[in-house]
Symmetry: C2
Amino acid sequence: MDAQLDRLKLDSNGLIPAIIQDHKSGEVLAMFWMNREAIEKTIATGKVHSYSRSRGRLALKGETSGHFEHVRAILTDCDKDALVIKVEQVGGACHEGYYSCFYNEYQTGSEEWKNVGKKIFDPGKVYHK
Amino acid sequence: MDAQLDRLKLDSNGLIPAIIQDHKSGEVLAMFWMNREAIEKTIATGKVHSYSRSRGRLALKGETSGHFEHVRAILTDCDKDALVIKVEQVGGACHEGYYSCFYNEYQTGSEEWKNVGKKIFDPGKVYHK
């Protein structure tokens, strides 16, 4: 029972988008989907949990990689249908080895998104031990 | 025809979430939904356009209020199913008078989200002339 969470507007699948943001730099690291249980677990443990739509279950971010996201603040918007979660990121947020998942930048007149990210870890070592 | 946009993964309704971020401070200002046409208009005009699910049509942010969002960069994530749009915000992003829509902060043990925003304009004057 959490009256604040009762006020959130989840979508028809019981989900809400959660924007994960570096609490110091403000960099947007990822966007996850959460259900009520994921939000509650995130609050209870202080570590970001998401609802994986592809796997149909809760996922603790960092469970395999050790790249946990420690919660510093949780905000919602005027409509209460989206979250911003400010975190201290361990390692990198992206399973492809980048600090942020948002490493592709649009380039006018180009055929391809430009990779503007910097790899900070080797996903092969982190995810396939 | 834009090969970069062809690579985006829109959802079953043809929509993709777009996180609007202040290009200087990194503050997250809003989350909008966009369809292909909204993305194309945003690129063509340099001003954020969203797809309003409630009104079922394209909306130019700032059309009524003058609070346009001038695009500085467009990024997508590893899965290409979300956007970050870095903008220069005129006025405030929130129709309730705040610079950012994310002005409610979760408070452990409280019944209510805490309003941590600062009103920067009077919505009554901006939206009901």
